[in-house]
Symmetry: C2
Subunit: 181 residues, 2 copies
């Protein structure tokens, strides 16, 4: 098995290593050698699979966006199954923010998209996806507001040891999802 070739798996392991590295050094901190070392492949491998370093970083962000999309499926099901939408959403958010590397990569994706418009679709995967899911339980405006709040909680989590507790999140999300009418 060890001598067997697996180009797709190899490429994936490189992208995966790059994605994990982004959480540590940022997109701008990536280097061919760093990624190659983390992935356990020689330098030539990363330059063979990616014509340029930017392509590699882009692929890593795309990989992260795809992971976001998959997570969204779980959120949709949980929200559909649960009775209290704000409370369920708060619980999902707590778990989401507990994964610090993931939170870091998501933020890096936002910043990268801010600098390079062609990356915006990747950043919108999470945002638009969550807005759409929440739109089944609230008005579009309220769904968008709740998503924005969760992104704010993302920044909060990154800069505080103590993350937001589920109760506070639920209160805020309830207020946003059910505006006084």
């Amino acid at each position: 098995m060890s001598g067997r070739r697996d180009p797709e798996g190899r490429r994936r392991s490189i992208v995966d290593a790059a994605c994990r590295l982004i959480a540590e050094v940022g997109v701008g901190g990536l280097t061919h050698r760093l990624v190659a070392a983390r992935a356990g492949v020689p330098l030539g491998a990363t330059t063979y699979y990616f014509k340029t370093l930017d392509d590699l970083g882009e692929a890593a962000l795309e990989y992260a966006a795809q992971a976001s999309a998959e997570e969204l499926d779980a959120w949709e099901q949980a929200l559909r199954a649960g009775t209290d939408v704000p409370k369920t959403l708060a619980s999902l958010t707590v778990d989401y923010l507990a994964d610090r590397p993931r939170a870091l990569v998501e933020t890096e994706l936002y910043i990268a998209a801010a600098h390079r418009p062609e990356l915006r679709p990747l950043a919108h995967v999470w945002f638009d996806g969550l807005v759409e899911i929440l739109s089944a339980h609230a008005s579009p405006d309220a769904a968008r507001a709740a998503t924005i709040f969760i992104d704010g909680a993302l920044l909060f989590a990154l800069t505080h040891d103590q993350p937001l507790d589920a109760a506070a999140l639920a209160t805020s999300l309830a207020a946003l999802l059910n505006p006084p009418g």
Copy 2:
């Protein structure tokens, strides 16, 4: 005047150039030569005033944090003077988010603080300052929630051409500042 020395002014112009550059290339994209060129000083100047490149980046973020603190004073006065807190806050936020370079630097500061805990106090200047100001008009929890929302709006603004309109902001901020019950 041109031949006159002004070490403090010189240092400030270097830091200012670095700060503006952060909005373009990120903290990690700073180089001595880049900053020197932007500030219009020779390479030796940046290495003379800052022992290391990290020090230079740190000084630039500190500079940005200080600008945040100054802006907060204006916010406090506007909120004290206005009659409708959410509406006034929404208006301030719209102006704040319209300054894209500033928004980029603020986000870079958040990420930098996420990676290097010693920078957290700088990131907290804006966050804690705004929470404190808002605490004069709402409960501490509500003030924190509103601040988190505004930070979320920061990320939204960075990744969308069309920023959030004041009306939508006011609605969400009102819901957060005046929780039902």
